[in-house]
C-alpha cells in the first residue's frame, strides 16, 4: 500500500508518548490484551486450516498488517494502535467470515465496524490481486501467482531455494522501485537506495517433532510477505540483512553521520548496484 501507512521518517509527530511506562506493565488496559487474544485465536484457526484438499486461507502477521493498510488514509491516521488491530480483525471476518459462521452484517449490527469501510477494503484487496509482486510478476485470472524461483512446489523444496541465494555478504545492492496496493516489506524509505549485504539468513522448512514442538535449525523459515499477506499461497525467498548509511537514505546534511540503518530485505527487492 502506498500512503501514510508507511510513515518511517515522516516528521512533525511530536514527542514520543509514555517513555517511562513501568517494565511490568504490558497493556494499559485489559481489553487491549483481550483484543490480542482474539486475533491470536482466529489466526491460529486459519493457520491450522479449515478444509483439507483446498488452498488454505491463512491470516498471519503479513495479512494482519495488510489488513490495516487497506484502510482509508484518513481513518488510518485517526485510529489508535489497537483500533488498527480491530480493523484488521473485522476485515478477516469480512473476507473469511463464512468459514467461521460470522458475517460483516453481525459486525455492523453491533456497531463494531461499518459496511462502507469494509467494502472499500475488499475492493482494494481485489485490485491488489490483479497487480504484480516484486520478483513474481502478475497473477493469473484467479489471483494466483507463479514462480519458478520462489514457489517450493516448483523448485522442489524450501531448502533448495535457500541453498541458492543470489547475493553474498559484501555485495553492494540497490533496492528496486515499486508501486504496491498489496503489502510489501520494502518500505518506501529505502526504495531506490544502495546498501551492503551484511548477513544471509539461510532458509529451511519448519520442522516439528512428534509432540508438535519446533526443532529449530537456526535459520529463517517464514514465507515471502508480499505473497503471504494475500492468504492463499506461500512462496519463500532468500532474506538478507542490508546495511544503509543514514546519509544515503536521508541526505548527509540532515542526519548525524554516525547513524546507520539495517533493514531485512527479501531477495526480489534488490539488484546488484
Amino acid at each position: 500500500m502506498e500512503g501514510p501507512h508507511y510513515n518511517a521518517g515522516w516528521t512533525g509527530y511530536g514527542k514520543i508518548p509514555f517513555k517511562d511506562q513501568p517494565d511490568d506493565q504490558g497493556w494499559l488496559e485489559e481489553w487491549e490484551g483481550q483484543l490480542g487474544a482474539i486475533f491470536a485465536t482466529l489466526s491460529t484457526i486459519f493457520e491450522k486450516g479449515l478444509k483439507s484438499g483446498q488452498p488454505v486461507p491463512f491470516w498471519g502477521l503479513d495479512a494482519a498488517r495488510w489488513g490495516r493498510e487497506t484502510m482509508n488514509p484518513r481513518d488510518y491516521m485517526n485510529r489508535t494502535y489497537d483500533a488498527l488491530w480491530l480493523e484488521t480483525l473485522c476485515l478477516l471476518i469480512t473476507i473469511y467470515g463464512d468459514k467461521l459462521g460470522v458475517s460483516v452484517a453481525d459486525l455492523e449490527a453491533r456497531k463494531i465496524t461499518n459496511a462502507p469501510a469494509q467494502k472499500r477494503a475488499k475492493a482494494i484487496r481485489e485490485q491488489a490481486f490483479k497487480e504484480a509482486v516484486p520478483g513474481v510478476g502478475r497473477p493469473d485470472a484467479k489471483g494466483l501467482y507463479q514462480s519458478a524461483k520462489y514457489d517450493p512446489a516448483k523448485v522442489g523444496s524450501i531448502e533448495k531455494i535457500g541453498a541458492n541465494p543470489k547475493f553474498k555478504v559484501g555485495d553492494r545492492v540497490q533496492c528496486i522501485n515499486q508501486l504496491s496496493t498489496g503489502h510489501t516489506r520494502e518500505y518506501p524509505y529505502f526504495r531506490g537506495k544502495v546498501g551492503t549485504v551484511v548477513t544471509y539468513y539461510g532458509l529451511a522448512e519448519e520442522k516439528r517433532n512428534e509432540k508438535g514442538q519446533i526443532e529449530f535449525q537456526g535459520v529463517y523459515y517464514a514465507p515471502y510477505p508480499d505473497i503471504a499477506c494475500r492468504g492463499l499461497q506461500k512462496f519463500y525467498t532468500p532474506l538478507y540483512s542490508v546495511r544503509f548509511e543514514g546519509k544515503d537514505i536521508w541526505g548527509e546534511e540532515f542526519v548525524d553521520p554516525r547513524s546507520v540503518i539495517y533493514a531485512d530485505v527479501f531477495e526480489p527487492y534488490i539488484k546488484l548496484a
Partner: protein, 328 residues
C-alpha cells in the same frame, strides 16, 4: 467491566491503570485535557481523546474537502462515495468488548482462552527473561561472544543458546527453571522467539578495529518485537511518534528518552552525555521481517562487582531495546 474478571486484586489493577492513563496523557501534553476529562465520571480517558470517529456535528457533506479534491486525511466530515453518511461508531473499548461477545456467542472463542492469553502475557513472559539473559551475558563473556557472533550457517543460533540457558537455570523468584515446554508452547523460546539476533552496546572489535556501537530496535510499520524475551510492547514502541522518527533521528530519540524519562536528573544526564560522546556508530534495526532484535546494554562501571542475580534486577526494558542507557 472487564476488570471484574481479573484474578488479581481488581482495585489495585484499576488504580494502576488509571495512574498509567494519567501519565500517558501528561506525556502527550494533554494534562489539561486529562484534568477536564476526569470530571466525566466513568469515561475512559484514552477513548475520549483518541479521535476514533469523525465529528458528528456540522457534518455537511457538501463541504467535504475530499469531494473538492482535497486530501481525505484532512477531512473531518467524510461522506462515502455512494452518498451515504458515515455511521459514527462507539468508542474502541466498547467495540472490542462487542466483538469479543459476538465471537463467544458464536462459539469461536471462549472467555477462558482469552483470559489465559492475557494472563500469559501479564504474568508469565516479560522483560525479566531478557534481563536474565543480559545479566548472564555480562558475567559470562564467552557465552556473550557466542550470542553476538553466530556461525554463518546458523544465523539465529542465539535462540538455541538462550533456550539451553533458560530451560536449565532456576529463576530465583519462582524456584523453577525460567522456561519450560508449558511456557514456550512448543516454540524455541516463546512467541516471536525463533529468529533472534543479539547485539551489544559498547566498545567492540570489528574487522580488527575497536569501535563503540550503540544499537536501537524499532519496527517502523507496526510493532514487531522480541516478545519471548520482553513480553508485550510498551506504548512508546508502538507509537507513530517513535516509529516515524526512530530511523531518521535516532540520536534525537535517545536524547528525548534521557531528558524526559529521567526528569532531568543532572547525574544521569552527565552519564548520558559521556556515553553518547563515545558512540562511533548508532545502528538502527528495523524489524521488517520475522527476525527479532535484542540489545545487551553496556554495563555501568559501578556495577562490576554485583552478582548475576543483583544485575538482572537492574536491567530495564527500554535499555534492552537501546532506547535508553543504564545508569548507575
Amino acid at each position: 467491566m472487564s476488570q471484574h474478571n481479573h484474578p488479581s486484586d481488581p482495585k489495585n489493577m484499576e488504580e494502576k491503570s488509571n495512574a498509567s492513563r494519567r501519565k500517558f496523557l501528561q506525556n502527550v501534553g494533554l494534562a489539561g485535557l486529562s484534568a477536564g476529562a476526569a470530571t466525566v465520571a466513568g469515561q475512559g480517558l484514552l477513548e475520549d481523546i483518541s479521535a476514533e470517529t469523525p465529528v458528528k456535528d456540522n457534518a455537511i457533506a457538501d463541504e467535504s474537502r475530499a469531494m473538492h479534491g482535497g486530501s481525505p486525511i484532512s477531512d473531518a466530515t467524510f461522506k462515502n462515495p455512494d452518498g451515504s453518511t458515515e455511521v459514527v461508531l462507539p468508542p474502541l473499548k466498547e467495540r472490542v468488548l462487542a466483538i469479543k461477545q459476538l465471537l463467544i456467542e458464536k462459539k469461536i472463542i471462549n472467555e477462558q482462552g482469552v483470559q489465559g492469553f492475557v494472563d500469559y502475557y501479564e504474568k508469565v513472559v516479560g522483560p525479566h527473561f531478557g534481563a536474565a539473559v543480559v545479566a548472564h551475558a555480562w558475567k559470562n563473556p564467552d557465552w556473550k561472544a557466542k550470542l553476538l557472533a553466530p556461525p554463518e550457517d546458523k544465523p539465529f543460533q542465539a535462540a538455541i543458546l538462550i533456550r539451553d540457558f533458560l530451560f536449565n537455570t532456576v529463576n530465583p523468584d519462582t524456584g523453577k527453571p525460567y522456561l519450560s515446554d508449558q511456557i514456550t508452547f512448543g516454540l524455541t523460546i516463546g512467541p516471536e522467539g525463533e529468529y533472534i539476533r543479539i547485539f551489544a552496546n559498547g566498545e567492540q572489535q570489528e574487522n580488527g578495529k575497536n569501535i563503540f556501537v550503540h544499537n536501537l530496535v524499532t519496527c517502523t510499520v507496526c510493532s514487531c518485537y522480541p516478545q519471548a524475551l520482553l513480553g508485550t510492547q510498551p506504548m512508546w514502541y508502538k507509537s507513530q511518534q517513535y516509529r516515524a522518527r526512530s530511523v531518521s533521528d535516532p540520536f534525537g530519540v535517545l536524547v528525548e528518552f534521557a531528558e524526559d524519562a529521567h526528569k532531568g536528573k543532572a547525574d544521569h544526564l552527565k552519564q548520558f552525555k559521556d556515553y553518547t560522546a563515545k558512540i562511533d556508530e548508532l545502528r538502527v534495526w528495523d524489524s521488517n521481517s520475522e527476525v527479532r532484535f535484542f540489545v545487551i546494554p553496556e554495563i555501568p562501571k559501578a556495577w562490576a562487582n554485583l552478582s548475576e542475580n543483583e544485575l538482572r534486577k537492574r536491567v530495564t526494558r527500554n535499555a534492552m531495546l537501546g532506547a535508553e542507557i543504564l545508569y548507575s
